[in-house]
């Protein structure tokens, strides 16, 4: 059951005002707002149920461990992962991809080995690979998007050579909204013996994810975009890849025994979770995923598709707006520039005065911006609680921008 008014009532922040205007929050691509159940879980986690996990035998430690570990099964269900042992907790996508770089790729890659990326990756799926380029001499192979912003899966597969060790692609572009056919890419890459990492930071927010169906080796998600607390996240790792990974961070919790001369490691996934984790964040993350699954991922996707269609129609009706990315199946993410003098920061400043929150800049995707020939765009990114009325507020505010700057 998806009733937009009921859904909006679940998010207390949506009733506040900004600059004297009702908040219109269209910066979901950067981070999403939190439903009351998540806020309650965080308050309860600290207020009533807090202790460190995995360590104590006392009541509170057992309670927090039970709730924290319970999230693993929720994440596995959310991603349709075969086992909760395939899920490693982390602080979000950035840590997840860095872990793959350090724990899996770094020990297996020699100078001139290759990683295939699309040009629309987020910096979190670029910079860790630059580290390997700088430190080990690996080569990053870039695959362009076409004029609509679509990524041809075959172009990605064709970029694979005998030296390719990994394909790392986003499922949904955080700038263009393009949805990538990661299943076809994975099938093609596997046929050539190359593992695939899917950056699900944006994808998992907008559609039901099935890692078993995609068949990918790594699938990374981040809690704060999934209506959960910041500092939470997880990565699905195929068991075959998990067994190839060396521990990335060392510390407590990830070991079995430590002596002066030797160390033995805990079993995965704990082997890759050193130190005290984000306990309460992770518990809240589980509650957020339950909230989304409770609404129904298909319902969320249908609602956002309707928003996308309405926003497309309204934006395309303004001949002084240039929307970047026209993929037919894109998510409800719109990056745009205005004709005339207005810079993206000018636009976002004026929109802010109207209570409309958007992102302005290069969206942590500078190679894509270079490909598009732009320094900066404004981005309106929609979430499950946005409405067509809010699209209208955005359009009115953009018309004011046009009036001010044209």
């Amino acid at each position: 059951m998806f009733d937009i008014n009921t859904v909006r009532a679940d998010f207390p922040i949506l009733s506040r005002q900004v600059n004297g205007k009702p908040l219109v929050y269209l910066d979901n691509g950067a981070s999403a707002q939190k439903p009351q159940v998540v806020i309650d879980a965080v308050i309860c986690g600290y207020g009533e149920e807090y202790a460190n996990v995995h360590r104590g035998l006392h009541f509170l430690s057992n309670l927090s461990t039970e709730k924290y570990e319970g999230t693993r099964a929720i994440v596995a269900r959310f991603l349709n992962a075969p086992s909760e042992d395939d899920i490693i907790f982390n602080s979000g996508t950035t840590e997840g991809i860095n872990m793959v770089a350090y724990a899996w790729a770094m020990p297996r890659m020699q100078a001139r080995d290759e990683i295939v990326l699309s040009v629309m990756e987020h910096h979190a799926n670029i910079v860790p690979w630059h580290f390997l380029r700088e430190r080990q001499g690996i080569v990053i192979k870039w695959v362009d998007v076409d004029a609509n912003g679509d990524l041809d899966p075959q172009a990605v597969i064709d970029a694979i050579t005998p030296r390719t060790k990994l394909v790392a692609v986003t499922q949904v572009s955080n700038v263009l909204g393009t949805v990538v056919d990661v299943k076809t890419i994975t099938t093609g890459a596997h046929a050539k013996g190359v593992p695939v990492l899917v950056d699900g930071s944006q994808g998992a927010v907008h559609m039901a994810v099935d890692v078993a169906d995609i068949g990918c080796d790594f699938y990374v998600i981040t809690g704060h975009k999934l209506y959960g607390p910041s500092g939470s996240g997880a990565i699905y790792v195929h068991p075959d890849r998990m067994s190839e990974m060396q521990p990335f961070m060392g510390g407590g919790d990830m070991i079995r025994e430590v002596s002066k001369d030797a160390v033995t490691y805990n079993d995965p996934p704990m082997k890759f979770e050193a130190g005290t984790p984000g306990i309460v964040q992770t518990i809240g993350f589980g509650v957020a995923l339950e909230y989304m699954m409770g609404l129904g991922m298909e319902n969320i996707a249908a609602h956002e598709t309707a928003l996308r269609d309405y926003a497309s129609q309204r934006l395309n009706g303004l001949n002084w707006i240039n929307v970047q990315g026209h993929s037919a199946t894109k998510a409800a993410i719109f990056s745009f520039t205005l004709d005339g003098a207005a810079h993206a920061h000018d636009i976002s400043t004026v929109l802010d005065k109207k209570g409309v929150a958007v992102r302005a800049g290069s969206h942590c995707a500078m190679p894509l911006m270079e490909h598009l020939g732009l320094n900066a765009t404004c981005r309106a990114s929609f979430g499950l609680y946005n409405t067509t009325d809010e699209v209208d507020v955005l359009i009115d505010a953009l018309e004011l921008c046009h009036d001010l700057f044209a």
């Binding site: 810079h343 920061h345 000018d346 005065k353």
Partner: protein, 135 residues
């Protein structure tokens, strides 16, 4: 009393009663700002910590401070014009005494000064003050 140029701007702003009119005027000031030649838009003149690109070219001649600046964002260009009115042709020794927060507050623009705002106004003022202090 600030400089004559700034007082003129402040008088104009007194007629505005809502943000839209104030921004319209800031944008007009931005449009009227003489652009910096590309030769001066180099890393050495770029002000760090701005979300948009900002360049600042300060100088001190005969003990008097002045600067030219530019940005790729029009509102920021307007704010540069306001800062130019506030700081230009002021003896370098008097720059530190100018209370930018209070002066911009008179225009209803001091929300641009908070540390969290990445439009660079604060960074520009710091750059201006530092140059003047080195005189």
């Amino acid at each position: 009393m600030a400089t004559e140029a700034f007082e003129e701007i402040a008088q104009t702003f007194e007629f505005f009663d809502d943000w839209e009119d104030r921004y319209r005027h800031v944008i007009d000031l931005g449009r009227a700002l003489e652009p910096l030649e590309d030769a001066f838009k180099v890393p050495a003149t770029k002000v760090d910590g701005c979300a948009s690109q900002v360049w600042l070219l300060p100088k001190i001649a005969d003990g008097v401070f002045s600067f030219r600046g530019d940005s790729d964002a029009m509102i920021v260009r307007g704010l540069i014009a306001v800062l130019a009115a506030l700081y230009n042709d002021v003896p370098a020794g008097e720059i530190a005494a100018i209370d930018a927060h209070a002066e911009l507050g008179r225009l209803g623009l001091n929300d641009h000064l908070s540390a969290q705002r990445s439009n660079g106004v604060r960074a520009m003022i710091e750059c201006i003050q530092m140059t003047a202090a080195q005189a």
